[in-house]
Symmetry: C2
Subunit: 324 residues, 2 copies
Amino acid sequence: MAVYTHLGAEDLAALIAAYDVGELVSAKGIAEGVSNSNWLIETTGAEGIGARFILTMYEYRIDTAQLPFYLGLLDHLSARDCPVPRTIHDRTGAACRTIGDKAVALIEFLPGVSVDRPTPAQAKAVGAALAQLHGAVGDFDKSLAQSMGLAEWRRLLEDCGKEGLADIDPALPDLAFSELGYLDAHWPEGLPRDVVHCDLFPDNVLMLGDKVSGLIDFYFAAEDFFAYDLAVTHAAWCFEDRGKRFRPEISDALLTGYASGRSLSDAERAALPILARGACMRFISSRAYDWVNTPADALVVRKDPMDFAARLDFYREHGTALFA
Amino acid sequence: MAVYTHLGAEDLAALIAAYDVGELVSAKGIAEGVSNSNWLIETTGAEGIGARFILTMYEYRIDTAQLPFYLGLLDHLSARDCPVPRTIHDRTGAACRTIGDKAVALIEFLPGVSVDRPTPAQAKAVGAALAQLHGAVGDFDKSLAQSMGLAEWRRLLEDCGKEGLADIDPALPDLAFSELGYLDAHWPEGLPRDVVHCDLFPDNVLMLGDKVSGLIDFYFAAEDFFAYDLAVTHAAWCFEDRGKRFRPEISDALLTGYASGRSLSDAERAALPILARGACMRFISSRAYDWVNTPADALVVRKDPMDFAARLDFYREHGTALFA
């Protein structure tokens, strides 16, 4: 949560002049994004384009060679009426530009706020929006292999080492490596797949009341099972008390909403318990890696991997009955 | 530059409901403010009140007992057509509320961007806006003693110690304490005074082209000499290359702009050289204190006190001729 680069009025005005969006009126660095800096920009506007935008500068982690994929995905989904911000192209038609040695993109601003504790009506709307996304991505002409899959979870956890994991929680090393073994042995194959979001936490959903006004932050999007994306969303939305308390009414609503837009096959439904366990391992592994590699006194808030160990316990015990 | 406290949609909606500003549409934490957290808030609006606001949560350093002073000052100046954001009062008429144990205020959003390298036309506008502020504050009914005056500069520097200062720059201890001695012996008395801004850096001025659209961040405002406030503004605006290069055209424009709104007395003009030296010491002392007390690896960017030592050198050599 930071703005890593200073951009003055002069830098911003020069950038904005490359787009047909009118003149710069206001710019505020916003505290969103871990791998990039973001500004909320207001301009005098231009016909057919609103007057507010998010300017994103890609700072870390994101391979800028993949920007045409990420930005093209926004445009593809937005053109199919998904609540996804479109990319504003500059006067030459380019979706991204550079300032100094850094890539930047100007992205449509969408209203809405992220909820902390969703209601069933909100969870239903999110399920429906996810199904809409899955239905709209079919003819997108770019793809990106999943780099955050099972092999990467193992690599991250092995990099932490059993001692590093035990420092987080004494139970974590056994839990993590035994679960990895199970997932390796039983991970499904052949389920319907395409480019999916893979990170649809409440933070990444903007809502106006019960309506989804925006799905944002597609920088973990990659080709994977639709049902895995649903499992990630389920794990992200259906728990409270840091993963310790399951919210059945949210689970029901999310699955009902999804079913309203896309039917799960029997094979997908049967796979959901293991996919949900995988979703937990995905966040256990990345959070454990960040935990071990972030100094305890750094100002970055470390996210506790054990919040997803609690969810994993739940899915191991109740997953089969839950998704039956 | 951070948002220290998480506020979810539910917290924000509950807060906004206490004001007659319509319903919450968007909220983005913004990367401004060192002592407080800020959000750019959009609502559906209400008659006579715009639909965008800055929500400030007071986190550190600011004595919330002084909030009626700071917020009242905004309202006072705004009512006198100064380009200052007014405070939005809640349905009970209160200028601030609390969330948990923290005070918050909802403040008018003003357009504009801060410039990095002002033009003479911009500096002239800033000088005129400062004079307008000085002319408008007369009948404000609250006051606040200057807590960042000479005695405090000495306390901060003594707290650093000569070794701490020498770690920043070997020349700093002698420079600082000899200058403090000079200022103590020669600081003027009896100049016109009232509540003044005391921190009018380019960061705290919003501009639209050559026009000042907003003067913000009054949290160092206190009773002091008008001419001292002008000296602070001069030191903040008229240099580049980290204080090493004076910009005479900016100085001329700033002073011309100020003179267009308020005439300096002979005594004020004669005092400007020492007041400008004092302005440098004010930022040398606070920056040195923060430097010594901020870990080198903290994510907060430390501001170099030597940038103001360079300005001090300039004023010592050229101040008398400059302001004659």
